[in-house]
Symmetry: C2
Subunit: 322 residues, 2 copies
């Protein structure tokens, strides 16, 4: 949530001179995204987001992410569309960093999504999956099932320090997820991080998705399972509840655009459990790696431990409203 | 440079319902200002900045700052104009903090101001002084000359730790500034912090000033002296140079709108020395108060020690181009 790299006005002017965007009229660092420096840029031609990629995003993957956004935008899916310079290149260099201009998306990110917004998100996710069907590039999911035991690294004691008994439960979940079914299900391009932060709405109407920097090739239904975890649980002081109404509406809306196969539907509880494990592990990793007292506190992994509790007990897809 | 307070979409919607601004179309935290949380808010009626005041700005002073911006905007000076709710109140409450909506200003803050921008700034500063002539409220400059020895607190050792011999030089400057002439010069409302960060330009055309949270009643020429320190010195690895061209053009442009009196012109070197002392002392204070290794590094006070070196040797106003 910070601007890491400052851009001088001379550097911006020189950078913009390679585009057909006219002069800069306004340029403000925005607190969006934790991985990169983002600026809201207004020029004589409209509004844009300028991103400077900091170290954490693998530079070798940038062409994939940019091509995906170009593909989705061209197919009519509302997402930031990369803007090419006059020489045809969208990915350029500014202040010694890879830099990209994309179109600006209007809308607000919901903090507490409504059931109607969950439905809008479900339909949008299916639309994104269809729009990406003929996208030719692929990218391995580096945070797939194989990564979860590696991230956990048998740190039962660390998990127990977070909550008594958690270490054994996580180890049991990892064992149950050893034959994670994603690879046997219909594959495609997934967003893989479509949290409410990364979606915009005007009222209940979905207006776009951003932050494709975890996008990869994986089971389409796994993307839906990630969204169920991110949108259909209500976190509160006493714990976390699955909001059946939100989940059911998201799944129904998804299926109204792209019906799930029998195998996808049957796999939904395990996919949801895997999705919760993926976010538990990355948050647990960041949590244990951050010294106490650091200014930026990582997200508490316990929200996802609570989701795992739910998934562990789920009897079948009907428990999710599918 | 951070958003401190998060605003939920429900809270924003409830807050906006008291204004005639329509619905929110976009809402982004911006990395502007270090004291408050600032959001760029787009509604059906246009673009605005929403500020949530954090602890560091004295809440008792907020009515003064808001009235000043209202006065200046009404007088045609380009600055953020406070927007009142339907009940007439501009200062309201959001997420348990005082909150204010102001109009959005277009333009870019120069990182390295050009001589033409220094001229634009000088004319704008004089225009602001004239626009505020009939502003009825006053506010004491809490960072005036009396505060500098208090801030320094005889910390010769701390200054010497920053640079050998600095402590004695600062103590000598403070002695020389004991009869600081500001009180005897024409008084008015001054911005008191009009650094390039707080000014917007389109090319060389001044489009507005922001961040009036140090504004106060003091010598008008002292405001010009602050700007000479902030705009007309070139900092580089080897030290700091007064840029005579930039300073001269700023002073000339100021005088084209509001000519300096003979006493103001004669006092310019001492006013400039005092202005440098004011920023040296607050930076020195923040510098010594910040633990090593903190994520947010305060500004290095040595840039202002270098300006003091220049002012100490200045023979008269002609050394500044006046």
């Amino acid at each position: 949530m910070a601007v890491y790299t400052h851009v001088s006005d001379e550097a911006l002017e020189a950078f913009l001179s390679a585009y057909d965007l006219g002069r800069a009229l306004s340029f403000k660092g925005i607190a969006e995204g934790v991985e990169n420096s983002n600026y809201l840029l207004e020029t004589e031609r409209g509004r844009f987001i300028l991103t400077l990629f900091e170290k954490r995003v693998a530079q070798a993957d940038l062409p994939y992410f940019i091509a995906l956004k170009q593909h989705l935008a061209a197919a009519g899916f509302p997402c930031p569309a990369p803007v090419a310079a006059r020489n045809g290149a969208a990915l350029r260099v500014l202040e010694h960093r890879p830099a990209l201009i994309v179109t600006f998306l209007q809308g607000l990110s919901p903090r507490r999504p409504t059931p109607a917004q969950c439905a809008g998100l479900g339909a949008a996710l299916a639309n994104m999956h269809l729009a990406a069907r003929d996208f030719a590039m692929t990218r391995t999911n580096t945070l797939g099932a194989a990564s979860w035991p590696r991230l956990f690294n048998d740190n039962v004691a660390g998990a127990d320090a977070l909550e008594a008994g958690l270490g054994v439960r996580i180890a049991g979940d990892l064992a149950a997820l050893a034959d994670f079914p994603a690879a046997s299900l219909p594959q495609g391009t997934i967003h893989a991080d479509l949290f409410p932060d990364n979606a915009f709405f005007e009222g209940d109407r979905f207006t776009g998705a951003i932050d494709f920097y975890f996008a990869c090739t994986d089971a389409l239904a796994y993307d839906l399972a990630i969204c169920l975890n991110a949108w259909a649980f209500d976190d509160h002081a006493q714990g976390t509840d699955y909001n059946y109404t939100k989940g059911r509406r998201m799944i129904e809306a998804y299926q109204s655009v792209r019906p799930l196969s029998g195998a996808e539907r049957a796999a939904l509880p395990m996919l949801a459990r895997g999705a919760a494990m993926r976010f538990f592990q990355t948050r647990f990793h960041d949590w244990t790696a951050t010294p106490p007292g650091a200014l930026v506190r990582p997200k508490n992994p316990l929200d996802y431990a609570r989701r795992l509790d739910f998934h562990r007990e789920a009897k079948g897809p009907e428990d999710y409203g599918a």
